[in-house]
Amino acid sequence: MSQVREPAFDRAVALVLRVGAFGCFFIMLAGLLSEFLIPGRIPVVIERGGVLLMLATPVVRVLVAGVLFLREKDWKYGAISFGVLAILLLGAVFGIGEH
């Protein structure tokens, strides 16, 4: 059986990615333009926000898919999604080789 074609599921996940990608584009653009207008650290702070949004987008995408699997009582793929989420968050919690 083919595993694709669950329109509502696909749309929800696509929405997370679209909002993330466009949001990042918009914030980064605002940061770039402010480089010309505002002196000091503010542009870098805005751009850092864009980087953090881009790092968060895949994490939120995994979380949303995991919750949707659990709502469908698809425990196997719910568990897999939260496993992926755990790997992503472990990277955020444990920093090795930092200086």
Binding site: R11, A14, L17, L32, G91
Partner: protein, 266 residues
Amino acid sequence: MQSVLLLVLGFFAGLLGALTGIGGGVLLTPILALHFGIPIRQAIGTSLIAVITTSAASSSVHLQRHTTDIRLGMTLELATAFGAAVTAYVVGYFNRSILEGLFAGFLLYSSITILVRGGKVKDEEAPSYNDKGETVIPPYEPRRYPLGLAASLVAGGLSGLLGIGGGPIKVPVMYIFMNVPLMVATATSNFMIGVTAAASAIVYYRRGDILVEVAAPLAVGVYLGSLLGARLAPRVHTKYVVYLLVGIMLYLAGRLCVHLFTGGTA
């Protein structure tokens, strides 16, 4: 001025990536290192942000066509994310020469593979449509999960090591070994790249290896370039674009080798 150059660079990397199916990371990392004087580890971390942007933008399009196998993608992501996070940590202990050498080797290997295959990056498969204009996917059942997971671990590891997406590994594995239709394999690989790159990018970010002032213009350029590329793709003869890409990759591999042997003075 540098921001404008980076924006243009991101635009062309995104455009070439969308046209050929080879992601922008392969070009961005060495160009950032060679022409913008950014240490290679930070070049890798920064180009990962462009890789995530490309994946998010293009994957949302594939999802709306319902050609992405989210269950398969999520399963393989267990392996790609793990591999990417592990190598991202390991990279912290590598010096510049090892990374530049590895990257030059990877560029050479990829260029030769493309040339041997006669400029074919992706196997073309015309999608079929039903009377409602929806894409028709033949029924399939993914097979050989252990093999797929092992290959994904390698693809993820390369992603964390070199700041690339790893699509050229994942697509053939899903298509040839896992019995997944090519259209679904391409969309699912694209879908996985964002999470794979994020797994390593988070580690790079914590280490301070993502330069936000560089990532910003790159992300803006890549976003615009990949949007245009996705629109142009059906109308452009990709074979010549691929040869252009191979030329750039060989040039960058050569420059990296020179950089390596002259100790960074060239």
